[in-house]
Symmetry: D2
Subunit: 336 residues, 4 copies
């Protein structure tokens, strides 16, 4: 029997998820909601889904799961609404920019006993999954140190930055989640710094476009993160974990694997220029993992199962501590 | 207005093409035929297509194009049938194992004035397209020499080999087409050799599992090809063209880009183990190119447009000459 | 006319430098000193040098330059001795473990007007020089952020660690110098952390075997460093600088560039297992640069000339601040 | 006790060998001969050797071994002279351009019982040795097929080409030796073709600048070779052997391992531009192997020991057959 889905938010990422739901044999895209009628209509027609409003989806007997691609400030209340309505919920990160609000939301979800998955898509990237697998299968021994590098092709518009929570909660949060995912367990403290190097327009917004952090676990393990909102050569996403027996590293994904050698040397095309093409496989994999989790199947690939509300909270707690460290110049303990 | 498609043959490759047609906004998968009813039904249900028989498709007013994924020995007559019925035809390679039959078929197609595309999918692989683009944009100057390496994970079953036309017409034919595509113009002669190195069961079938060839153009340009039906490490597909100003090379596609370094050195996962995952992008691209061609749009990517009947014939002529060279130990001129 | 050299300390690194002096057409290895007579004799015989004691070298009219490969605690006084004697001095790093002592020593050198070069050999590594050149020629624009990774195959003996000054002054000091060399200008502050992860015997010595740091310049530029005394796969030495127009990165040097592909994937041999083979070219290059500097020639390769006493002092000042940060958990300003 | 050497021919390659002899602790460079007095004097002075004429070297009691870097047309008679004089002989390839003359020379050597090593330096390249080792240790199973690519930065002067014996005997001969070295055993037949693509001045000399060949062993094994006298991006030297269990490949050696990523993609510096820097390690290794062989030690690295007269003859026999094939367009059997 098929799992029947509704998608809320039919924009860019909503369309990606709609396609993934439609492509999974165990799922059906039954309903779509978007305040922009044309957006909802486009998805509805393409996948044979019905256009519904929020309440209709919440009360529909034949909707099993919802995918929330709505604005961040609606996430927490919508999670609660649908959890109480007995729907499984997939929510784009973050649940909320405030950890206290996230805690409350998780409490509600726990009371209802429903499944909440948070969209940390990078856990489902084939390359990062390969690193995770190398750790899980013992190839590199116990993880000791890590290095994560994330550089975006360019900074988002000021408007987005204002609502984003800042570089630590918006961009480095992916790396914090990856750090926990790969190293295992929550870090105890963080040192961080941030500055504006690429786009002076960001300065008056009180945010940074360049940031570095060192996470430290109670047992002395360490992981360095370097973020920049600028990368002329494309979407630069690298992860490496160094353990007692060796190192596992995920390299950048080059969409075209050619080499052109001339008198000036060897040349290769740049990386992906957009996160949605870079993570196209990850997006499909995460929806499939969500469906498998609902279907009771063991979730293959992302060892440790799907990321849930706790994972969303953990990454946010690290981000809050990193922001405090960048502001105060002190090592900051991470709330438990 | 949409281009309405019928797919004939709902097996493995038929399903791949069905998905590509369905995913293209300018096309609709309207009909499907397969003698195996369950196969036809699966595609019909998944994409909302109708199950039809051959004649119904040929005579249907609302079918514009057909995709032939039927057995090779039916290709030529089906191309002629549908060409005469005024349908555009996409046909999996080869048109036929006999070049005389192919010439007749092309004559019929030319009389009808319809579009015939032959499924040389590798022309639409992003990496090989990158090499083609490097040649077209002058980066490496005039092509002088080339090296193509194709190794399959394992030999196909004896049953398949018997009907395949042998390694030159079945496997190296892709490389012959790639050679013409990249170097430009038909080679004048070929030297080739073949042997059985990986699977002794192939010997009594009169075929080879390992073959090498050197193509030579009238102006002295040369290209070497090396084929093996065995590659423990996956689907090994490399192409390089060396020109007056430099070299352009397409590397293998690694599905997982990680590196695990331990005391025994650096390790990477193997290549794709199946041609359908290796060429997943190429299969989608070629159907999109076919649709664009029918739509009157310039075909982006594969410079020089879509491969047609002449390309199918050319590759086959080279294969026939290579087989003769392998048998006689002489350089063999390629029929014009 | 040849520049006549004396080498003090005929151990491992002394022999490397002796060979480099001998191999340079503008230099002659005239004298050697080592308290271990056999060591001095071996070098003397191999290169036709005379065995001399310290004073004889200092007072010899026909010695132009000395290379100090003596124990660290003798460096400062020997630099002063030979500077006053009018000899040019090449000294292995560090000048001293205490920055106040280094400042005094530099004052003496400056008074005498002699040339002092400090052995930051990595500035002369072909790969790191390549990164420096990419910065100098404008390829990557203004440097914004950096990442340096240094991992040694294994920890040195406890005896060495006790006298080394600890991981920041002994190991990460190379990375601090590289940071200044590549990013340009002294950083303003540092955050650092250290722990014992690989060898519990290091704990009672009050040192770390694993350390991370973030350098920050006054204009907001940032550079992350990650150090480990363990790397099963060899001597791991990577540097990358990210600028406004792009990134320049030096990869590890693999002594054997082969790939072996089997059913378990692709394998490569490990890295160099010893710093003297890893940096064999750098060691020869730095002595050649010293000789060129003495010869009045522009020093090619290492833009900005040879590293002098100030460079030795600067790296030490960063190391002292990093140690304080690791101890206090605070961002520490670096003394000017 | 030291092995005492004389070097005949103090040009470019003679100097390389002189340095290698001098650097080996078991050898002494005692004598040097060159008709150009200044050349002889330079080597003599640098390494403390005596300038001698041919006869003096042949009759000297205290010369154990000679290194012949003289013109090719003198090789055979000089080998015979020194073999009869009881000297071990290292001779640059080829022994002679005519296989009959080579056979005679080998007969003389065999009668005298001396050691003759032929300078197939590539057998001592660290990367090609790595491929050989992978074959020897069973990693890739029994070798089945091979691909060798050799491209030179540019064609030699017409004067050199005239005396060289042509591309098959001068350039591809290295690949023929490598093929025998790696695949094991002599091939049975060869198909080859050649043309002039890069330098029209070569045409009237009756030689080619571009050539391809397929070697075939009696058991059906195959190896493809592609040669060009032009490579804008440097000295391109690759080797790969494909076996029943996998593939071993030697990649090009990049002197500077950096990557510069900008908006136009990733860039790397070109390859070595000169064979003497590309093969610097191989040249030292081969002289060391010769000395070890004379010293009675097992020759490490190049499994199967040093290349001798037979190896020189074998490669030449393949080259003669390849030339015949290129001329006649027929598969040509290789003389036993």
């Amino acid at each position: 029997m098929s799992i029947r889905f509704a998608i809320l938010g039919a924009g860019r990422i909503g369309q990606v998820h709609a396609r993934a739901v439609d492509g999974n044999e165990k799922a059906v895209l039954a309903a779509v909601f978007d305040p922009v009628e044309a957006a909802a209509a486009a998805v509805a027609e393409r996948y044979g889904a019905e256009i519904c409003d929020l309440d209709a989806i919440a009360t529909a007997d034949d909707i099993d799961a919802v995918v929330l691609c709505t604005p961040t400030d609606l996430h927490a209340q919508q999670i609660e609404l649908f959890a109480r309505a007995g729907k499984a919920v997939f929510c784009e990160k973050p649940i909320d920019l405030d950890s206290a609000r996230v805690r409350d939301c998780i409490d509600v979800v726990n009371e209802t006993g429903t499944t909440l998955m948070v969209g940390f898509n990078r856990r489902f990237d084939p390359h990062f999954m390969g690193v995770k697998a190398a750790i899980e299968n013992g190839s590199i021994g116990a993880p000791e140190m890590g290095i994560i590098t994330s550089r975006d092709p360019g900074a988002p518009p000021a408007d987005y930055i204002t609502r984003s929570g800042g570089i630590f909660k918006d961009m480095m949060i992916h790396d914090f989640d990856m750090a926990v995912f790969l190293m295992g367990g929550m870090p105890e403290s963080v040192m961080a710094t941030g500055s504006v190097l690429t786009d002076k327009a960001i300065e008056p917004l009180g945010d940074y476009d360049s940031a570095s952090a060192i996470l430290r676990w109670a047992d002395g393990r360490q992981l360095s993160i370097s973020n920049s909102r600028r990368a002329s050569y494309g979407y630069d996403q690298r992860v490496e974990v160094h353990g007692s027996l060796g190192m596992a590293a995920a390299e950048n994904e080059h969409p075209v694997r050619i080499e052109v050698a001339t008198a000036s040397g060897y040349a290769r095309p740049p990386l992906h220029d957009f996160f949605m093409t870079r993570y196209i496989a990850a997006y499909a994999n995460e929806i499939n993992a969500f469906i498998s989790a609902l279907d009771g199947a063991a979730v293959s690939g992302a060892a440790g199962g799907i990321p849930t509300g706790i994972d969303g909270l953990n990454a946010l707690l690290i981000a809050e501590a990193a922001l405090e460290s960048a502001t105060t110049g002190r090592l900051v303990s991470i709330a438990g």
